[in-house]
Symmetry: C2
Subunit: 188 residues, 2 copies
DNA sequence: CACGATCTAGGACAGTTGTCCTACGAGGCG
DNA sequence: CGCCTCGTAGGACAACTGTCCTAGATCGTG
């Protein structure tokens, strides 16, 4: 197999496993088994577990950027775009119920471990934060745009943690409705 | 040393370490070092790591019940009590910035691990949820009291995750203010 | 075909994990 | 005093961790 393709497979498998089980609880052996490679051979592709994490975060950053661009092309209005973000807790509802928010749980874990790459992982949040801030600025709330962006982020994280804990879809739906109402007061 | 006192010391140390580093990332050796005991000797007090976790959760449940009773005696009005809960993200602001919410991070970790004791840990959330629901019922919002209770819980978790990630105290303050405004619309 | 680069399997490695056992010491009670 | 329970130290145990090495397979290119 080509090295680049294998590397991509490793990153894909690691991404999924880190999300489902957490970073620390995922071992080289787990990733190797998922890809179908021998454990020792990993050193050829990644010189350490941290290097895999780095690649996973990089892949998530790229994926998120791509998703945000899609949202921008699909939703012409800033409030439609913000709503698109808000509804992600419904769109990805099943995954969030089972595994939590991929961004939130990774950041929480790395922050608690005092991991070197927490700064990188925080970049995932920053991506959403900056994008949301831009949408609120376009709505004419430039001076408090960052505050509003953080509020929407906090909403998503609160819903994700409780959805993950209680596995209650109705709760998620009610919170999204509440958020929709709140958003409408900021619409042009 | 008396066995009961040693047991209490172990639970205290484990409680702190589980909060600061996470359950999985805390080893018997870590707890032993914190208490000043030999690692092998732990089996005398707890027959497994899960047994320690069980005792820690039990201790947190008892502590939480005690705190809620204190709040009830200190705050005569239901809205004052809810506000007391809301402001916990400021009261424990330093800890939350460094280690996240002790209830939220434990539940997230155990849910992701598929751990047997996740049900027990969820009880910590349920304690707050039921208590908040009671306060909203006393405020005359019986039919949507649980919904409102979950909303307040979601607020606390969203703020905790972002505070832990960004370490921004001003953000916490703004969210608490926002919550105060929201609460005032539900006051008698 | 032969060569060199690329990719792989398998295992060695030192360290750590949770678990469990045995032997010892301290202290109260007969 | 001798006994017996309670608490402890120290280490054995197998399994697993991330890391690293070496020998061989595969494959495109000269």
């Amino acid at each position: 197999m080509s090295g680049a393709a294998t590397r991509e497979q490793i990153v894909d498998a690691a991404d999924r496993l880190f999300y489902h089980r957490g970073y620390e609880h995922t071992s080289f052996a787990d990733i190797a088994a998922a890809v179908g490679l021998s454990r020792g051979n990993f050193y050829y592709h990644f010189k350490s577990k941290d290097a895999i994490l780095d690649a996973v975060i990089e892949a998530r950053l790229a994926g998120t950027r791509h998703m945000l661009e899609q949202w921008e092309s699909q939703q012409p209005t800033p409030d439609g775009r913000i709503l698109q973000f808000v509804e992600i807790v419904l769109t990805n509802g099943t995954d969030i119920q089972q595994y939590g928010c991929p961004v939130g749980t990774l950041n929480t874990e790395l922050a608690k471990l005092g991991h070197t790459l927490h700064g990188q992982a925080r970049g995932l949040f920053t991506l959403f934060r900056d994008w949301l801030r831009e949408q609120f600025t376009l709505l004419g709330h430039g001076e408090q745009a960052d505050d509003l962006a953080m509020h929407v982020l906090a909403f998503s994280q609160g819903v994700a943690v409780l959805s993950h804990t209680f596995r209650d879809e109705e709760f998620v739906r009610r919170e999204v409705d509440r958020m929709r109402d709140w958003l409408s007061t900021y619409r042009k």
